[in-house]
């Protein structure tokens, strides 16, 4: 679905022009009518938003991405939902995607490549420190602005798409080219996966090619798992050793062999820059005179932009990395003093204060976020300590809240960076606390009113029961005392309310009771929290027991290989030990699968020739078991079943038995072979992909009982094919008509190739051949049909 120009989202963002379509979103240039500036608006595709959990994931991910603030990351201004349309409003960047730039200008020279890579690495360094993994680094997600600045976009967005909706990967979905091996395997994705994808991107900049290509997503994924990185110099002989080794280290198959962190890679990149600059100034072979930005800057760049980047380009790069280092240092300070200014002093085009009228959270009270940011300093402590809030802070919040409403009413926008940063950091949990506290505040207020009212009748022996709910137990007790009532607070329970808050009262407000009556109340014990235990190096089951017995949610288990940690042992935990958690929070444990390659997953051999199997089986880490023959429709020596089904995990060296075809038709392929799977006449009309015949229970006995019938006819016979006119001739007088013969699904030969005019159609073609083959017809190289034929039926 495309939004029309002029559509207004969230009451302020006007769609102006569609500028692209990504895997998950449609991208528009838009205008923020409130702040009068251009913005980029990403509208999530409907097939993703239909998923019931999408909204949560979208909000979580977009918010964590919004916490990022770095000159090389496209800033997120706002996220929202308008009538089921989920959108992200971002900084507008005048420029082009790195993918386009690569397509037009790659291979890049070293300095250009390094300049871009350093900026990307700096961005990733910032994100990784904030705990945000991109998960989908690829040139399509990297923007090159007209001044040559690199901006990474779509942080974490890939994660929102992990839905049960079926989607097709085709070559059009670019991500698989940049997939890390662990992503291909479905393993644990972390910072090192971004490093891998960055390495692949660098390869592409240097060579103009992705290192691993194939006909389909599976073939490409397999190459990420198995194939060695192609030699960069084969495409670009000028690349220096230092850069080659950086790319290699970033793209190691095993995480342990890659850079430990993006910062390590960054420091190597900086060394490489110094080296490349020296090489250039000393008149090295490296495309002297090629300016960094003149290569990469999009066409729209002005001449002076390019020249500035040209002369000072290298210096700029140096500065970039230095400022990045500063920022890294300051990151820590920023955590403690959220009011601190942004370290590198650079300022994204404009900072915007979130404003109440935005539809960030139309449906979600938690996200109304109506509290003052100045007090976020205090809250920060709360956030880190999770739920350990106390009364003092509570009062602060209440105060803040009042002030905040005024702020909003006045629509008091300030161009305040700090505000911006801190606002991004808000956590829903804090909002929930605030909401709860407001309610408590209101209740207490009314409670107090009632109390004064009640006091008028204090002379009577009868007392009207006031409301105690929402008060602290101490306040409730002193109030009861004044009224001559007693409070019995034996009933404690965990709740979202602060510890000591009265949750309910057994005798309702307004009831008249005798003085001295005991009122039973339920008091909150606070949220059930526990300190996350250290479970690393414990067995999976022990770790789970430990966590659940403390009241934690059942951990989500992810598996990954490890050379050092035994199978079944926890390698990583998230959150870290000692983190205060409540029972609803998500816990992830990464459990070792043991050494990679110690277990073998049996591949599919059915449909392959036994000679192929013999050559492949060692590489697969398996050994060849018994081979028996059986009559079958299948081509002679083709595997029709294997003793261990594909997809089964076995010990290395396990032997696999095979049943292969004798190449003879079974005597009768209809009724007598009950319960035997191998008589299934399976074919794949285009790719000879024999069906799974993995269970071969009865094959051996059947094999014995079958009589060998030698009826195969090796004499050439001919068959006639009628060629119909193609649907259109596209104003051409003649077309090429080509027929291919495919034997065994892989041996292809051209058996007919003629040029025909439209008047020739339809016509018959007679083809000679033997045995069963597949014929395919192409007209002007466009596939028309494919037929399975048996020449033995010809004449």
């Amino acid at each position: 679905m495309t939004l029309n120009v002029g559509t207004i989202l969230g009451g302020r963002y006007e769609i102006q022009e569609k500028i692209g379509t990504g895997g998950m979103a449609v991208v528009y240039r838009g205008h923020d009518n409130k702040l009068e500036r251009n913005v980029t608006i990403k509208v999530m595709k409907e097939e993703f938003t239909g998923d019931p959990n999408f909204k949560n994931r979208f909000n979580t991910e977009a918010r964590s991405a919004a916490r990022l603030s770095h000159p090389n990351i496209q800033s997120i201004y706002d996220v929202g939902e308008d009538n089921g349309i989920y959108y992200i409003v971002m900084e507008y960047i005048h420029g082009d995607s790195l993918k386009h730039v690569i397509q037009e200008k790659a291979p890049f020279d070293e300095i250009t490549t390094l300049s871009i890579t350093v900026q990307m690495a700096a961005a990733l360094s910032h994100a990784h420190k904030k705990g945000v993994i991109h998960r989908d680094i690829k040139p399509q997600n990297i923007l090159v602005s007209v001044d040559g600045t690199i901006k990474i976009t779509d942080f974490g967005i890939a994660r929102t798409a992990d839905v049960s909706t079926a989607t097709v990967t085709t070559n059009a979905v670019g991500s698989v080219y940049y997939f890390s091996p662990e992503q291909a395997r479905g393993g644990y994705v972390d910072e090192k996966s971004d490093i891998y994808s960055l390495g692949i991107t660098v390869f592409e900049m240097l060579t103009g090619h992705v290192p691993f290509d194939g006909n389909n997503s599976v073939a490409i994924a397999l190459k990420h798992l198995n194939s060695e990185l192609p030699d960069i110099r084969q495409f670009n002989p000028n690349v220096s050793d230092i850069i080659i080794s950086i790319v290699k280290k970033a793209t190691e198959k095993r995480k342990d062999d890659r850079y430990d962190s993006i910062d390590d890679m960054l420091s190597d990149l900086e060394k490489a820059i110094t080296f490349a600059k020296d090489k250039k100034t000393t008149g090295g072979k490296l495309n002297p005179g090629t300016a960094a930005a003149s290569v990469i800057a999009p066409k729209t760049a002005k001449a002076e932009d390019m020249s500035s980047a040209d002369g000072s380009g290298a210096t700029k790069i140096g500065l970039n990395s230095v400022s990045n280092a500063d920022e890294n240092k300051n990151d820590k300070i920023k955590v403690e003093i959220p009011g601190g200014k942004k370290a590198d002093g650079s300022k994204p085009s404009a900072f915007e204060k979130y404003n109440k009228s935005m539809k960030i959270s139309k449906d979600d009270d938690y996200e109304n976020d109506n509290y003052e940011d100045d007090d976020y300093k205090d809250m920060k402590v709360v956030k880190r300590g999770r739920n350990k809030y106390d009364t003092v802070k509570k009062q602060d919040y209440m105060k803040n809240n009042k002030r905040k409403s005024n702020n909003y009413d006045n629509n008091n926008y300030e161009d305040d960076e700090d505000e911006f940063y801190r606002r991004k950091e808000k956590k829903t949990i804090i909002a929930a606390i605030v909401t709860a506290l407001i309610i408590i505040g209101i209740i207490s207020f009314f409670g107090a009113k009632l109390f004064t009212g009640g006091a008028l009748f204090s002379g009577n022996s009868q007392v009207t029961v006031p409301n105690f709910t929402g008060m602290t137990i101490d306040d409730a007790k002193s109030k009861a005392d004044k009224l001559g009532l007693k409070i019995n607070d034996n009933d404690d329970e965990y709740s979202d309310y602060d510890e000591g808050t009265v949750l309910s009262q057994e005798t309702d407000e307004g009831e008249k009771v005798a003085k001295g009556t005991e009122i039973n109340v339920a008091v909150s014990k606070g949220k059930k929290t526990f300190s996350m235990p250290d479970v690393v190096n414990e067995s999976k089951d022990d770790a789970i027991n430990k966590i659940t017995s403390l009241g934690g949610s059942k951990p989500e288990i992810q598996y990954d290989y490890s050379d050092t940690i035994d199978e079944g042992i926890v390698m990583e935990q998230n959150p870290a030990a000692q983190t205060e958690l409540d029972s609803s929070e998500r816990i992830i444990l990464v459990v070792s699968k043991g050494q990679e390659n110690s277990k073998i997953v049996v591949p599919e051999f059915v449909g392959k020739d036994i000679s192929t199997v013999k050559s492949e089986i060692d590489d697969a880490g398996l050994s060849l078991g018994n081979i028996s023959k059986k009559d079958s429709d299948a081509v002679k020596d083709k595997v029709i079943s294997q003793s261990v089904a594909s997809g089964t995990e076995v010990e290395k060296g396990t032997s696999v038995d095979f049943v292969i075809s004798s190449g003879t038709q079974p005597e009768d392929n209809t009724q007598d072979n009950t319960n035997d799977n191998t008589d299934n006449n399976t074919n794949d009309n285009t790719e000879n992909n024999n069906k799974d015949n993995t269970k071969n229970d009865n094959t051996k006995t059947d094999n014995d009982s079958n009589t060998q019938t030698t009826t195969s006819d090796n004499a050439e016979k001919s068959l006639a094919f009628t060629i119909e006119a193609p649907s259109s001739f596209d104003d051409k007088n003649s077309v090429s008509v080509k027929m291919l013969e495919i034997v065994n699904g892989n041996t292809v030969s051209v058996v007919y190739n003629q040029t025909k005019t439209s008047a020739d159609f339809p016509f018959d073609v007679s083809i000679k051949g033997t045995g069963k083959v597949e014929m395919q017809l192409y007209i002007d190289n466009v596939y028309q049909w494919s037929k399975k034929v048996d020449f033995s039926e010809g004449n």
Binding site: G186, N675, T686
Partner: protein
């Protein structure tokens, strides 16, 4: 032969993008059953699965009986090819149908022989002698990786990309269909289903249910209920063909 089919929205989806087809099975020549699981934004998924069935059905019925009898499998493949190209054209023409597609699993039965044409990750199972066997192979990223020996079945089941299919009807100009021919015997039960069933209940549960001796309609209802009980996160569709 008794055949029953059912398609439900499940518990978490806003619309049902699955479509199924159960032909009259009173011994007519052209007896076939289809499950299709559509995808694409807005209404495109529903359109894709129902249109694919419609085009296919019309094509099969338009063929002369003799032709069909002699070229059963070819006719089915041709029907699927036709559905693919028509869907693809539509998706190219109309913006709202951009990217639409559908899985397609058709089982035709003629003279106690089963012919299957299949694209995507909907499945056809054969239940014979108390054993359930999957006759189709999912065209999904993870199952292709399994086939290559790169993922174990259990890894495939929890892979984040397990929902990604590698072939669909209508998403590209051409589609490769897998075909299966299998002899049927009295006592067999066939089940066609979309992934809404098989991601919610495992093969063992299906096998146990088919062993229960209940009638086809009851079994179908129970299987779908079980999938819903386990979360019903997607549309659920199944056809049971009972040859007992």
């Amino acid at each position: 032969m008794i055949a029953v089919g059912k398609s439900v929205i499940g518990l978490q989806r806003k619309n049902n993008e699955d479509s199924i087809f159960v032909s009259d099975n009173d011994g007519t020549l052209k007896t076939f059953f289809i499950v299709a699981d559509g995808m694409g934004g807005h209404k495109a998924g529903e359109v894709a699965s129902s249109m694919a069935i419609d085009i296919f059905k019309e094509y099969i019925y338009s063929k002369a009986d003799d032709y069909y009898r002699e070229n059963t499998l070819d006719t089915l493949v041709e029907g699927l090819t036709k559905a693919n190209s028509e869907l693809y054209e539509l998706s190219q023409k109309k913006d709202e149908y951009d990217g639409m597609g559908t899985t397609f699993t058709c089982a035709a039965i003629r003279d106690m022989t089963l012919y299957i044409v299949h694209v995507g990750d909907s499945r056809c199972y054969l239940f014979r002698n108390s054993v359930l066997k999957q006759l189709t192979r999912d065209h999904s990223f993870v199952m292709e990786m399994v086939k290559q020996g790169k993922l174990s079945l259990s890894e495939a089941q929890r892979h984040p990309k397990r929902n990604v299919i590698t072939r669909a009807v209508g998403t590209e100009k051409r589609v490769k269909a897998d075909t299966v021919i299998e002899s049927l015997y009295q006592g067999d039960i066939l089940i066609l289903c979309t992934d809404g069933l098989t991601t919610m209940i495992d093969d063992k549960t299906i096998q146990d249910e088919l062993s229960s001796g209940k009638n086809a309609k009851e079994m179908l209802g129970i299987l779908i209920d079980k999938a819903n009980e386990n979360g019903g996160s997607d549309n659920i569709s199944a056809v049971i063909i009972d040859l007992r």
